[in-house]
Symmetry: C2
Subunit: 385 residues, 2 copies
């Protein structure tokens, strides 16, 4: 494999730092061409000094000078601001984008990579949740491979290699159930930020950890899966699997199920997406069948975890509804993380925003951007009341 | 897919009758070109009248006249005897052999198919256990695809499609543990034929059902896997999985595990091998994640189920040792089925035969045949004492 030049968007986040670990362990296979961060200038500088990228972008323009001065003696070019993120993504100087930016902010740079026909290792599920139809259509036109990094979608992707024209009967997305599995609304109403941030199996960023606790994450993954694998809502099943060992499954038309399994460790799907179709030997911990093990499965409790039901509703409604869902959810989660609203209030914000914002059946990209803005404003107004 | 002409060796057995169900349900994809049976003339005649094969072979020459007369008004040619099985297999009139003959008797016809460069759907594990080196080497030379039908090996084969040059770290063969899982020698010593024939999950022929009860079947599968997938003994792990839902797993060099799953139903791997690389829609029952489910895993008890330990010893020793193991085991199992020896005696027969017969490190095919004969004679002499 020739060395892949990686444009690492969101290099200081949970996905980004682990991707750099993969690069550090496989310098012959990968180089860091671009690193970007939103606000964490200190870590971005440290990473730039270690990986000597061609360019870095700091989203927060106020931090431009600090980064610029710190990298003054190096060959690394420094840019700042939201617009620079898009512009740098549009430069034909890398082989693969690792889209690790959290939330809606990841959409525009990812679209630029797709426009260039670049391979995208997609950790930013919101890109597909918000505008999956446009992104996947464009990827097909431009020949851009979209390789998922989410452990569930990576599992499905791995199960599909070599199956060529064999049709999918359904996919089964596994969900740990999060820290509040089995709890009821009378418990959830009092849940606080710090408790919700304690995921039983996975170490992830704050936004996705809260989404896991509410099961919204699984709903977003259903929408992401629809676009990645060209599925109908009826072909996507969610199953609670508290041990997080089976990362997801595919059932084919002949009834055969294929599953991808392992310890819950994001490094594996990150590395897989970066190196695909090659698998790289590593020393990540292995799941061990020498100890007695039990894997269990049950249906999700959609009556209690209403976010999942709302996401399924948006999935089925389609159009700009998933965009509305996602925008409202982002506002709600950040408000919860700031202790401004309660755990169950997040669902209220999403539900009311979905009821309020105008539905568009076949939105243009511009209409997705407008929908996102409107939904955020309305969701924020609910919180400020 | 153009219609595949199937040479169905062992058409009246458990695998054969299910393969004919697959053909009956997919007449556009498959035709039965050759049907063979050892002794069951009644069923062979019935099958020939239904599927109108080009040829049938009845192994038992005494039954030739009955079959010949019953098919007198048809276009089906009738042959009889062991030699005819080989001769018919050597005719270039079919596209795929389904090798469903039980035991060592399946080796010679299968070798003929491989010599012709025909695809072989291999349900006869003894072919590889006895002479895997020769069979697989010849298959490679002749371009004959060997597609496993055993559910475990089919699972591994399905997990490997599309992985191309990605190296296997290990495979994990799952074993139900059979009807006597958790039992100790003081229980096993009194086990009778009818009890051992009651497998908790799988409906199979008598020989393999007894082998499942003693765990010899899993040992034979380890040896089969070695040849099919070009593995070292250290790369082959056996795990007890009483629910028989995960049919086996592959772990790659990056630590990722892939599994193939489903209800225990031989029709699926039979159909998969026949139609590969295509998957055919069907109405076989599906595993259902809507009910709460538990899958468990534990290490096999090799101290109690000593046959598995003997098979691992033969696997490691290689040469003609697996051939000796298999021959002795066939004699022992049929003696047990005739209530001539006890459950634990089967292990004694195998162990003593392995100790007695001369070891050959790199046997010729002829030496395998000789080894088989010697081992059978010695094993039989132990039983007749």
């Amino acid at each position: 494999m020739k060395q892949k030049r990686i444009a690492l968007f969101g290099s200081t986040g949970s996905i980004g730092t682990q991707a750099l670990d993969v690069i550090a362990a496989n310098r012959d296979l990968f180089s860091a061409e671009i690193l970007t961060a939103q606000t964490n200038d200190t870590l971005l500088i440290k990473q730039a000094l270690e990986f000597a990228p061609n360019m870095v972008v700091i989203g927060d323009e106020k931090k431009y000078t600090v980064v610029k001065e710190a990298l003054a003696g190096t060959d690394t070019k420094v840019f700042a601001g939201e617009k620079a993120l898009e512009e740098v993504a549009a430069l034909d100087c890398y082989d693969m984008m690792l889209a690790g930016i959290v939330g809606y902010a990841g959409l525009r740079p990812t679209l630029q990579a797709v426009n260039l026909g670049k391979a995208v290792a997609l950790a930013n599920k919101e890109t597909l949740v918000v505008a999956g139809d446009i992104v996947m259509k464009r990827a097909l036109e431009k020949g851009a491979a979209v390789i998922p990094v989410d452990s569930e979608h990576s599992a499905i992707f791995q199960c599909l290699v070599g199956e060529n024209n064999n049709r999918i009967s359904k996919i089964v997305l596994t969900a740990s159930g999060g820290p509040f599995l089995g709890k009821k609304p009378n418990f959830l109403v009092n849940v606080k930020r710090d408790h919700a941030l304690q995921h039983p199996n996975w170490t992830m960023g704050a936004k996705i950890t809260i989404d896991s606790a509410t099961l919204m994450n699984k709903g977003l993954e259903m929408i992401e899966a629809k676009w990645l694998f060209n599925l109908t809502p009826e072909q996507i099943q969610v199953v609670i699997h508290p041990q997080s060992i089976i990362h997801s499954m595919v059932q084919f038309e002949d009834g055969s199920l294929k599953a991808q399994m392992g310890l819950p460790d994001m490094k594996l799907p990150i590395q897989y997406a970066m190196a695909f179709p090659q698998r790289i030997p590593n020393d990540f911990p292995r799941y061990d069948f020498k100890k007695p093990q039990t894997l269990s499965f049950e249906e999700p409790d959609i009556k209690t975890f209403r976010n999942l039901g709302l996401a399924i509703e948006a999935l089925k409604k389609a159009g700009n509804m998933p965009c509305i869902l996602n925008a409202a959810n982002e506002i709600a989660v950040y408000a919860f993380l700031k202790n401004r609203i309660g755990f169950l209030d997040m669902t209220e914000v999403v539900e009311q925003t979905m009821a309020k914002i105008s539905f568009i059946e076949n939105p243009t990209l511009e209409e997705y951007f407008e929908t996102d803005g409107e939904a955020r404003n309305f969701a924020a107004s609910l919180i400020h009341m």
